[in-house]
Subunit: 151 residues, 2 copies
Amino acid sequence: MASGRQQRHELGQTLMLLARDFHHRLSADLKQRGVEGVNASHNAVFLYLGRNGASRAVDLAGAAGIRPQSMMKIVHELEAMGMVERHPDPADSRAKLIDFTARGRAFIAELSRSTETVWEQYAAILGKGSMRDTIANLNTLLQGGDETDGG
Amino acid sequence: MASGRQQRHELGQTLMLLARDFHHRLSADLKQRGVEGVNASHNAVFLYLGRNGASRAVDLAGAAGIRPQSMMKIVHELEAMGMVERHPDPADSRAKLIDFTARGRAFIAELSRSTETVWEQYAAILGKGSMRDTIANLNTLLQGGDETDGG
DNA sequence: CGCATTTAGTAAGCTAAACTGATGATAAGA
DNA sequence: TCTTATCATCAGTTTAGCTTACTAAATGCG
């Protein structure tokens, strides 16, 4: 039992294992409903594409915290899978704007559904109230950490 | 603002980003005090060596959830760095028992200190009480996922 | 005891996902 | 115009895991 002082030493472990646990549960749920072919690295695109007007590879890379070259690879894979398509940017002929295809949007819906399922699984352990509080606190930590960061 | 319903969709993001944030802070703190040369994968050894009598490569691999061959590589690296040393197991001449060197133990102390520093950073955002509750809840989630909790 | 099976460590090579470095085309600014 | 910065891209490298395959030792069975 990680009580009191001990939990501090295991903080990193807790966070890492929980992130892994979530990923496990999400993958299991997606697989169960027959949604496959998308891996962890592809997730960055689904998470960030369209947010804050991010629609170029370089923007996605910035949001995901990886290099543009790495993001390109991911985008190419998703393009080959028919999840996204790219069009030339009318405002900048160097750039290409990335958009979801219908298939990509359908996948996002599935992802959302599975994420909610995992949320419910967790809520079944903690109770909805504690679950909400806990995740809200984690978000607070993230925001508190970003404040100095010029993200 | 991730309020109410919205936070469910961002659950995975929250967990992943927080794990990353922790790692960032920990690395920064370690670097600041001049502790370097140990990477993320080495961490598994520092986390699990000695726990539940885990002192062979195969045990560490099991605890860390990776293959013995992968753990061997990590152990060899740490051995080259003078963090651990290996002696033949008197009870099993196939096996070798892994032990921390003085240097390895010193590193653990640094790691512990840095982890506590990050804990305090987080506690400064949430307040100690909320921080404790939050992490306790996360640990509950992890145990709830395992159910077969022997440790 | 002798032999099959399992287990611990090791080696070689593969893959995935990030990285660095460099290039060509375009944009933006002096 | 010329220079520098930016977007996409190509090529090669690193890292951390994987699978396959092997040796040596322990274990279990007849």
